[in-house]
């Protein structure tokens, strides 16, 4: 019988290995972690979310997702390490313990399971000719089939299913997207949402769709600054930060804009480290350093969320 103690957090894993780890993880830490299936993917794979909770009902909550872009393996690996960090530090780290006493944390480790399975079975390195027959031409390329997690058609999304920013035939028509939207909407008490991507070394907040600053711009700017400073202290990695539109590009319909407009003030999009040498193929030796520094930024955002209820 396996346990999570034999799991290598410094290695990349297949979907089956990750889902098996999830089952073991939930069993071993049933006092604090549970598994929720929030839907099924286009190819009918389970879409799973880990819930970290110390009990109580209607706790405010924090959402973290990794792996929307399935070729960004460092994000899934970081998410797994982070989940393990939460259970191992609960009760030891005062800040995390306080957060979990008052709030629940939800982590979706593999947001695009079809795409992730595809990158393991067919094409790890990008090449947009890996399409298979499906409802939409190119829908199952794998690595970027959910694009920039486009929720609604707009400037930043595309009607071409072969585009990285394909928004689907109608708003939220992609089951992976709809599962999240439905879950977060039904829950109704999320206070922070952090969507983790790689690789550009950025921490960004709304808006993407417009250069106009959001009403909480000053607070989000200061929080992003604190988070990247905490991240920098771990391994000296510098991040850009700011609104999506001023830091990266103007694009509408993306996750954090939707979250912010849905009332989740602390909405951030992460782009994990870029060594300038590997791109998506970041060596496994860098998983733990990446996760360690990311954790400090996540912890900063979560702590701020705890201390600034709204």
């Amino acid at each position: 019988e396996r346990s999570t103690s034999s799991f290598s957090y410094s290695s990349y894993h297949t979907l089956e290995e990750i889902y098996s780890w999830i089952d073991n993880f939930v069993t071993e830490h049933s006092d604090i972690v549970s598994k929720i299936q929030i839907g099924n993917s286009f190819e009918n794979r389970s879409i799973l979310v880990l819930k970290f909770s110390t009990g109580g009902s209607r706790h405010p909550a924090i959402w973290i997702d990794t792996g929307i872009h399935s070729r960004e393996w460092i994000t899934h690996a970081t998410g797994i390490w982070t989940a393990n960090k939460i259970v191992s530090d609960y009760g030891k780290d005062r800040v995390l313990t306080d957060i979990l006493k008052a709030m629940d944390i939800f982590i979706e480790l593999v947001t695009n399971p079809d795409g992730f399975a595809f990158t393991h079975s067919m094409v790890r390195a990008p090449g947009k000719d890996g399409r298979r027959g499906s409802r939409h031409l190119c829908r199952t390329w794998g690595f970027d089939s959910l694009g920039g997690f486009i929720l609604l058609p707009g400037n930043g999304s595309n009607s071409n299913p072969c585009s990285e920013t394909y928004h689907g035939p109608s708003p939220q028509s992609e089951p992976e997207v709809a599962a999240i939207v439905n879950f977060i909407t039904a829950h109704g008490n999320f206070k922070a949402l952090i969507s983790i991507h790689s690789y550009s070394q950025m921490l960004m907040y709304p808006y993407g769709r417009s250069l106009e600053p959001v009403s909480n711009q000053r607070e989000l700017y200061d929080l992003a600054k604190d988070a990247v400073e905490a991240l920098y202290k771990v391994h000296g990695i510098e991040y850009f930060f700011g609104s999506i539109s001023t830091t990266l590009y103007v694009a509408s319909g993306i996750t954090v804009d939707w979250a912010y407009d849905s009332g989740i003030k602390y909405a951030f999009s992460f782009e994990l480290r870029d060594t300038g040498r590997y791109g998506f193929l970041l060596p496994a030796t860098q998983i733990i350093p990446t996760a360690q520094e990311t954790w400090m930024a996540l912890r900063t955002i979560m702590e701020h969320t705890l201390n600034h209820p709204y």
Binding site: S8, S11, Y12, H13, T14, M122, V123, R124, A125, P126, G127, K128, D129, G130, E164, Y199, S200, L248, Y249, G276, R277, Y278, G279, F280, L281, P283, A284
Partner: protein, 94 residues
């Protein structure tokens, strides 16, 4: 599985909007020719693109002819993929 032997990832630094638009022209090519890992967003940000071995000469010539500075971020993708696969197999054996 595909073989990526000889495919490279080039990191391009556009000086201005004009150079960015030259890179955007490449985005219109079929992905078999150029696959943008990081698309042209703004001049201060690097652009990374995977170029299949068969297209390397053409793409490099295009960049050079337009004065676009680039470096080779990944010299041979297949080498990295092989290392990645070996690392995963080793982890599984352990």
């Amino acid at each position: 599985q595909m073989n990526f032997t000889g495919d490279q990832v080039l990191r391009v630094l556009a000086k201005d909007e004009k150079q960015l638009s030259l890179l955007r022209d490449l985005e219109g090519l079929k992905p078999q020719k150029v696959d943008f890992w990081r698309g042209p967003a703004r001049p201060s940000l690097p652009v990374d693109m995977r170029v299949p071995f068969s297209e390397l000469k053409y793409i490099k010539a295009y960049l050079e002819s337009h004065g676009l500075a680039y470096s080779i971020m990944i010299k041979d993708i297949q080498v990295l993929l092989d290392e990645e696969r070996e690392a995963m197999a080793k982890s599984r054996r352990l």
